[in-house]
Amino acid sequence: MSTPMALRTESPYLSTPATVTAVRSITAKEKLFDIRLPGGPLGHLPGQFVSVSAFGYGEAPISIASSPTAGDHFQLCVRNVGNVTAALHQLEPGSSVGIRGPFGRGFPIEQLRGHDLLIVAGGLGLAPLRSLIQYAIDRRQEFRQITLLIGARTPSELLFRDEYAAWQRQLVGEILVTVDRGDDQWSGHVGVITTLFPNLTLDAKATMAVIVGPPVMYRFALAEAFSKGIPESQVYVSLERRMKCGVGKCGHCQLNGVYVCQKGPVFSYTELAGMEEAWG
């Protein structure tokens, strides 16, 4: 029946063209992109993500690595691991990318305020956590003691290594770094990230823990956090999943009954209790 109907031409899958304003290699596999949208700031919260398009290759969900307090641009730390990210790695300043988002629920700033923070970053987990670290630096008075644990497989895989000294100074907090395997130049701690926990002195009841890392890390890092006495309700994680839409349609990011793109990627531990698909 040819009843005329209001045609909605907007699509939830339409990206906004944005400009890459700077690119810097931070490891052999990761690059950091500065991106500017034509209409001004992205308007994100620490811990949210965007869907990034390299048109001709596809779209990938990437967590935002900079704080909204950083100004008009935002940063994405992209690991070269698939077709889309390989294409992104070819981009130079001045290139266009498509941006959709920000999507999802970020770190619970309201709940974190007024508490000690224990931030645990395994591997690429430091990318989304950097948005929180920068936020905490810019709003330092909102938080109490801040402790940051950073782990990577090898020294050359440590992300944002040149920023740790400044973070330590600006956070007036403790930063502990470890690698699974050292090299000739490495004089720091060696061991998986959980080996940093025994020497921590925390005011557990006043501490909010934020843990982000690869699937294999959670089980062990969570156990360490709980053994320190941090209550389950004060532990947050950010979960990675396959995502094709960002708007709760494509079905890929579901774990148990929840869509990670909508209810996550950040969850409190108690929200995930009983959801065995959460831990990969």
């Binding site: 045609l7 031409t9 063209p17 001709g56 079905g251 890929h252």
Partner: protein, 347 residues
């Protein structure tokens, strides 16, 4: 519900007039020994007395592959959404498939509206027809044996020499008024319509041995059931069940480039949660590596996750997954095993 009656000899004229005047008319047509929904060029190709089609009419609302965005690379990136809303009439849709379309309406219409789906859906007129089951149908167990108000424009029930027509929308009423020769329904027509319903329900062979509305709760206690292990050992991860399902709507998205390397399209394609790589992320980690976890996920989608979200089971009882499964996995057997296990635990 407004009712009317079309004599069978007048139905052919009605369908031919629709074909002559409407942009596209779709209906069940023969394809070898099976039936498929396909374009109609003459009323005599339409088969209204049939059990099932290979694919549900979903393919006209959520095509197996569709372009979401057209783009042009260059100094400035050009992006254009592709919203297709060609008016279509789909004839001969069974109550189970109307429920399937209702399910897609919920999934694509809530929260962030999927305009690609909703534009096509709004341009679609649905003319349903009632049916008799085969041994795989179990619509009476999921409450989709009768079409619900609001899910069709017209709905036909065979009463011998005529069809009783339920008028479900203004659009349907206008079509009938303009293109069909009808008469008023008599008490006898209505008696025959009710007899059709009774015979349909009596002919149902496959059943759930419990109330479908209790399944979300029951499934909560059955995540570690041995049933999943058994199904995991059988399932071939072929995705047939996803492919033929009227309520499966998961999709993948990717880019296709023209040979000029300037023009391209962002396309979505049907995906299936039972396929091995459905939950694989970049870098290779598979969040549902085990077959049993994927089979279980499919059942929880249908009878818990989406059911709790939208209020009805996301299974229409159409029996297509039963018919297409190469290793004979089917919802009634699976759910009845879980129901039996749960009753045993309680005893």
């Amino acid at each position: 519900m407004a009712l009317s009656v079309i004599e069978k000899k007048h139905l052919t004229d009605f369908v031919n007039r629709l074909i002559a005047t409407q942009p596209a008319v779709i209906g069940p047509v023969r394809k070898g020994s099976k039936l498929v929904f396909g374009p109609l060029s003459q009323a005599q190709d339409l088969v209204l007395d049939y059990v099932t089609t290979i694919l549900p009419p979903k393919k006209y609302l959520l095509p197996p592959q569709e372009t979401l965005i057209r783009f042009k690379l260059g100094p400035s990136l050009e992006l254009e959404p592709v919203i297709e809303n060609t008016p279509r009439i789909i004839l001969g849709v069974h109550p189970c498939d109307l429920r399937g379309i209702w399910s897609l309406d919920q999934a694509f219409g809530d929260d962030t509206v999927d305009t690609h789906y909703t534009a096509r859906r709004r341009a679609t007129t649905l003319i349903g027809v009632d049916c008799h089951p085969d041994e795989s149908c179990f619509c009476t167990s999921v409450g989709s044996q009768r079409p619900e108000a609001g899910t069709f424009d017209l709905f036909l029930t065979d009463v011998g020499s005529a069809y009783v027509v339920e008028i479900g929308s203004e659009r349907g009423r206008q079509l009938l008024e303009r293109y069909a020769q009808t008469r008023e329904a008599t008490a006898n027509d209505l008696a025959l319509q009710q007899r059709f319903w009774r015979e349909k329900e009596a002919a149902m062979q496959a059943h759930l041995n419990g109330d479908v509305h209790l399944l979300p709760l029951l499934l909560d206690s059955q995540r570690q059931s041995d049933t999943w292990k058994e199904l995991g050992n059988k399932c071939l991860s072929c995705g047939n069940c996803n492919l033929v399902c009227p309520t499966c709507y998961c999709f993948d998205v990717g880019d296709l480039m023209q040979l000029n390397l300037t023009d391209g399209e962002r396309v979505r394609q049907w995906d299936g949660c039972t396929l091995t790589d459905f939950a694989v992320v970049a870098g290779g980690h598979n969040f549902r590596r085990q077959t049993e976890s994927r089979v279980r996920h499919r059942y929880y989608r249908k009878f818990q996750y989406l059911m709790l979200r939208y209020g009805k089971p996301f299974c229409t009882g159409c029996g297509r997954c039963t018919r297409s499964c190469l290793v004979h996995i089917n919802p009634p057997d699976t759910l009845n095993a879980l129901i039996a296990a749960s009753e045993k635990e309680e005893a």
